[in-house]
Structure formats: structure tokens, C-alpha cells
């Protein structure tokens, strides 16, 4: 990138540790996809070539919650699934963020029935909601930007993530 020609020899740079850590976190979000219904199809489209979430540093999709820091809940969560989702949320190491993708995950959508949890935010903390049924990949990308903005504004000693 020509950077090395500007910083010739052993350069150094000054910054705030807070900004440096946040920059690292926001540029390498590792998503944990929790796709339970049709929204997951759009999520897959977002991960794949055409929309390519890796342009924004979030392409390392981990199917293990222990290796990820961004939970994307995409789809309906039934009462049989909610304990699983909570377990997965607990297994993710701090710091972690949650996107609730689509109408169903955010509020139950059109399925106002006995089986379906009416919004995962009643049971796990959600950072960004994505409206739509299903949301277009652009909306999910926008949610990732929102998460990045949230990360930028975080203070290391705020205690939010257990520091």
C-alpha cells in the first residue's frame, strides 16, 4: 500500500490504547450465525461473493460460539430453541455483540403464537435490530456498520464487557 515507503526504517506511531483496541475489534468481527429460518438465506447471501461481508472484516464465520464475538440471530426462535440460544450466547467470550436480524427475531414477526418467542431481546441483550422480512443483505451490512460504530464508542474500562 505504499505505507512502508512512508514509514521507512523502524517507524513508530502514537495512539490511544482505547482507540487501537477498538479499531482491532471492529475490523475483525467474527460472526456466529444463528440461522433458524428464511432470514438465514439472506445472511448466507451477505456472507458470499456478491455482497461479501469480508470487505468489512467480518468474514470469518465461526460455527463455534467460543471463537466468535458477533451473534447474528436470523430467524424465528421457538420456545424449544430459546434455551439453546441462551446457551450459545453464554458460551461466547466477552466482548460480544448481538444483531437481531429480521422481524421474527426482533418481535416475533407475524407469528404471534404459543411456540414463538416474541423478540429475542426479552431474553438476551441485543445491540442492533435489522428490520425487514427478510432484510436485504445491504441491511445486514448496515447493521454490521452500526456494530462497528458501537465498538468505536466503547471505553475499555466501562465495565460493559467485564473489564
Amino acid at each position: 500500500m505504499g505505507l512502508e515507503s512512508l514509514i521507512s526504517g523502524e517507524g513508530f506511531l502514537t495512539t490511544k490504547i482505547n482507540d487501537l483496541v477498538n479499531w482491532a475489534r471492529k475490523s475483525a468481527l467474527w460472526p456466529m450465525p444463528f440461522g433458524t429460518a428464511c432470514c438465514a438465506i439472506e445472511m448466507m447471501a451477505t456472507f458470499s461473493g456478491r455482497y461479501d461481508i469480508s470487505r468489512f472484516g467480518a468474514e470469518v464465520v465461526r460455527f463455534s460460539p467460543r471463537q466468535s464475538d458477533l451473534l447474528i440471530v436470523s430467524g424465528r426462535i421457538s420456545i424449544k430453541m430459546m434455551p439453546v440460544l441462551q446457551k450459545i450466547y453464554r458460551q461466547m467470550p466477552e466482548p460480544k455483540w448481538v444483531i437481531s436480524m429480521g422481524a421474527c427475531a426482533s418481535c416475533g414477526g407475524v407469528f404471534d403464537t404459543y411456540t414463538l418467542v416474541q423478540g429475542v431481546d426479552q431474553f438476551i441483550p441485543v445491540d442492533v435490530y435489522v428490520p425487514g422480512c427478510p432484510p436485504r443483505p445491504e441491511s445486514l451490512l448496515d447493521a454490521v456498520f452500526e456494530i462497528q460504530q458501537i465498538i468505536e464508542g466503547e471505553k475499555l474500562d466501562s465495565g460493559k464487557h467485564g473489564s
Binding site: 424449544k80 426479552q122 467485564g162
Partner: protein, 224 residues
Amino acid sequence: MTDERPDPADGAEEAPSTPEPAPAQHPVSAALTPALSSTILATLEHQGQTAFVVRSPDQRALLEHLRFEQNFEYLKDVTAIDFLGRDTVERFQLVYVLHRLTDHLTIRVHAWLSEEADEAPSVVDLWDLARWGERETHDMFGIVFDGNPDLRRLLMPEDYPAFPLLKDYPLKGRGERRQFPYLQPRGGEMVEGTPPPYPVTIGRGMHTPDYIEEVRRESRPKGE
């Protein structure tokens, strides 16, 4: 389209012309033994598909006959219908959909099941697929299939307190979907709220008399 439906135009011509005195008997019902035919309450025809209506537990003998004598080797589905509030023979109707692969003939067997009996003979020994259908029917309606070796819940969580497809079970449940603790990150510790206890259920896990009355009232045709 290869199935031999009668041409609709033909049917329209024939229908008003001659009221047939004795409609040709369906080949399946013609092959029934007299003892079995006597248990059949009605024979329905709809869209070229025949259905025999019996009263539980008579369907067991009929299904056995259809399986072994008439070679209906494929059971498409076992399910039930709840007719709460309707003026029907009994409250529940079990529905068996059978198929014969040699001539692709599908028939149904409907069996009325009273609310008090609440128990029907299993057909798992006739068709293995009945395991799943009966489990699902049990899960949704609470009907017990006598002889099914594995009558656990299929779709709902194991500790679910009700049978949700019963007509007297409210569509939005009784608060089961709120039965989870709330997790929040605070100082790195997970703080959980306490979930409220499961709502009190009555009888077979379902209804109050008031609620049944309400369903009955609502299911009456308009203008009564």
C-alpha cells in the same frame, strides 16, 4: 397430468340427467367383509377420494384388513381434528391416509374419538410410519395411542404443559413463551432474572369451562 380424472364437462352433463339409484360401489368397500362394512358409519367421496368414517376403536380392525387383505402398504399420515363446539358425533376425529402403490389409490379412514375415551389403538405394528404420526398427534392433541412404544413429545419441549392444537387452547399460549430468564452482561457477570412459574393448567392440561363456553359461542355460525 396423467391421472384419470373424469372430464369436468362430462360430469356436468351427467349429473342432472339421471339420479342414479345405486351408485357403483367403490372397489375397496366392495371387498370389505360384512362385519367390517357394518362398522362403517358413512362413506364420503370428495375430489375422487374415498373416506370411511367409523367410530374408534373400530378403525383398528378396518385398517388391519386394508393393510393385509387389500394391500395398502403405505400410510401417508396419521393426524386428528378437534371439532370442539361443533355438532359432531364426537369431539375428536382421527384421520388415517392410506395409499396403495400398485394402483396409486389413496383412501382415508376417519375415526370418531370421544373426549372421555381419550385413547385409541395404535397401528404401529401395521405401518412403522405410524410411530411419528401418532407421536405428533399425541403431542398436539394429547390423544394416547395404546400400543405405541415411544409416545414422547415430538415437536414441543418435553416439559410443555399443554396440548396446543386443542381448540380450547389459546393461540397465544398461556405465557409459556415468556418462561425464560433474561441474560445481561453486567460487569462480566451474567445476571439472570427469575422466570415466572409455568401457568396453572386444568384437567388434561388445557381448559377452563368458561373458555370452552367462549369457544362454543364463537364457533357458532354468524347470525344465530
